[in-house]
């Protein structure tokens, strides 16, 4: 699975806001252009981005194999017609090019995922989105990061608790509904206890934010991001 990995690549050293800007600029221009020529240019940009984060294209494509399959399927669905000629090649090609750009967008965001720890993303959100919503979204991201494995583990624990006392002997429906209801109530119990923990630890609107600063490296990349965004209009 594609997740953050500590490293010292160019992408790892960039400010998360710069990397977000690049993704947005890239997506904007990719959504605007589907000619083979522009897709060739965008492919080159994608390759550079992936290289700068040491993302292995092969591993990423394996991770995204399902999305790939889907995107390969898209032109077929688009090409099939209800009457003669049964298959419209022009439609299929148009859809094929359109889904190829979606693949490029996915790959570019893979570079961000590989190179950005949650702490950085949280800091970027809190510094970019003003006021209380930004604050809550930032902390919220950190909390989801904590609770995602916890809730997954809860489901495992419930299954273990049932297994340890031979719950495996019950019917599948009985087991599934126990796991479902228990998993859900446990999650909401956790939320209510989390709110006590936040209160006890002085959860405030104006905490010290994680450190974050643009470096010299960021400016040229930001210029690139802006250029990409503007190229959407040409």
């Amino acid at each position: 699975m594609l997740t953050y990995e500590p490293d010292a690549t160019l992408a790892h050293r960039l400010d998360p806001r710069t990397k977000l800007a690049v993704q947005i600029g890239f997506a904007a221009t990719a959504l605007a252009h589907t000619t083979p020529r522009s897709l060739a240019v965008l492919s080159a940009v994608t390759a550079i981005v992936l290289f700068s984060a040491h993302v292995s294209i092969r591993r990423t494509l394996v991770d995204y194999r399902f999305a790939l399959l889907i995107l390969a399927l898209a032109p077929l669905i688009a090409g099939v017609t209800l009457g003669a000629p049964w298959f419209d090649t022009a439609d299929a090609i148009a859809s094929g090019l359109a889904s190829y750009r979606v693949l490029l967008i996915l790959l570019v965001s893979a570079a961000y995922v590989r190179s950005t720890p949650v702490r950085d993303s949280r800091a970027a959100i809190q510094r970019t989105i003003p006021g209380k919503p930004g604050q809550l979204l930032g902390i919220g991201v950190a909390l989801v990061f904590r609770f995602l494995p916890v809730l997954q583990a809860d489901l495992r624990t419930i299954r273990e608790a049932m297994a340890a006392r031979l719950g495996t002997k019950r019917s599948a429906v009985d087991r599934a509904s126990t796991i479902g209801i228990l998993g859900l109530t446990r999650a909401f119990d956790r939320a209510d206890r989390l709110s006590l923990a936040l209160q006890a630890r002085c959860f405030a609107w104006n905490p010290t934010l994680p450190p974050l600063a643009f470096s010299r490296l960021d400016y040229p990349v930001l210029v690139l991001a802006v250029a990409l965004a503007f190229s959407a209009f040409v």
Partner: protein, 234 residues
């Protein structure tokens, strides 16, 4: 009898148990001591197949656990380190009855066992209480009752005295003693040997995933120096 034959286990790539061999005879009261992170919980979870060894074998009454999980789980009762992980129902009575129900017992026998188990932990008459409205120590008691009600031939307890008050602790200890006298094998993990080591037939102490000390109390106590365990007189 529960036997470990050169069992090793690692979480991902961190080794936690290394080449552990031991056996717990029926009718013996065995203590499992060791510092935080020494591998006690990991060891106990092998006894009923919640974890499977990476190498080596765990046998219950002569059969490898993996070969007959149902047999292992009906003869090994387990109290989890965190009582809340163990609950599968919303009320005390329903939770304690869960195991006996899965054993396919008659309703009369189930009720008898639930009552007896709740008495042993000083929670008689609390069948209809909601588990999430109990205090911490009361929850620990219900977790113990859940395992007792299965009347297993081996009982494995992971720091079961957490949060128990004095009469409850006394009562559970008495019950464990009389169970052992009647032939149940009891394996109890704890940090504090001070007043249980008088009851034990044997003490096993772990360090860094290995069995460091294993023997009758008198001999074992002398060797526990440096093992991060509380002993009488220290």
């Amino acid at each position: 009898m529960i036997e470990f034959e050169s069992v090793s286990y690692a979480f991902e790539d961190v080794p936690v148990l290394e080449n552990v061999s031991l056996s717990i005879d029926d009718g013996k009261f065995v203590l499992l001591a060791g510092g935080n992170g020494s591998g006690k919980t990991t060891l106990l979870r092998h006894c009923n197949g919640l974890l499977e060894p990476d190498s080596g074998d765990v046998l219950v009454d002569g059969t490898p656990v993996a070969e007959d999980l149902i047999a292992a789980r009906s003869s090994v009762g387990m109290v989890f380190q965190h009582p809340r992980d163990q609950f599968v129902a919303a009320t005390v009575g329903a939770d304690v009855a869960f195991g006996p129900e899965n054993l396919g017992l008659e309703r009369r026998e189930i009720d008898r066992r639930v009552t007896a188990a709740l008495e042993a932990v000083n929670m008689a008459g609390r069948e209809d209480d909601r588990i999430d409205a109990l205090s911490g120590g009361e929850q620990s008691r219900v977790a113990i009752a859940g395992a007792l009600a299965m009347e297993p031939t081996h009982l494995v307890l992971d720091e079961p005295f957490t949060g128990l008050d004095e009469p409850a602790r006394r009562s559970v200890l008495d019950r464990l003693e009389s169970l052992a006298a009647d032939g149940t094998g009891v394996l109890l993990a704890t940090h504090d040997l001070r007043d249980v080591c008088g009851l034990a037939d044997r003490i096993i102490a772990m360090r860094d995933g290995c069995v460091a000390v294993d023997g009758p109390p008198a001999a074992a106590l002398a060797e526990l120096e440096g093992l991060e365990v509380r002993v009488p007189g220290r």
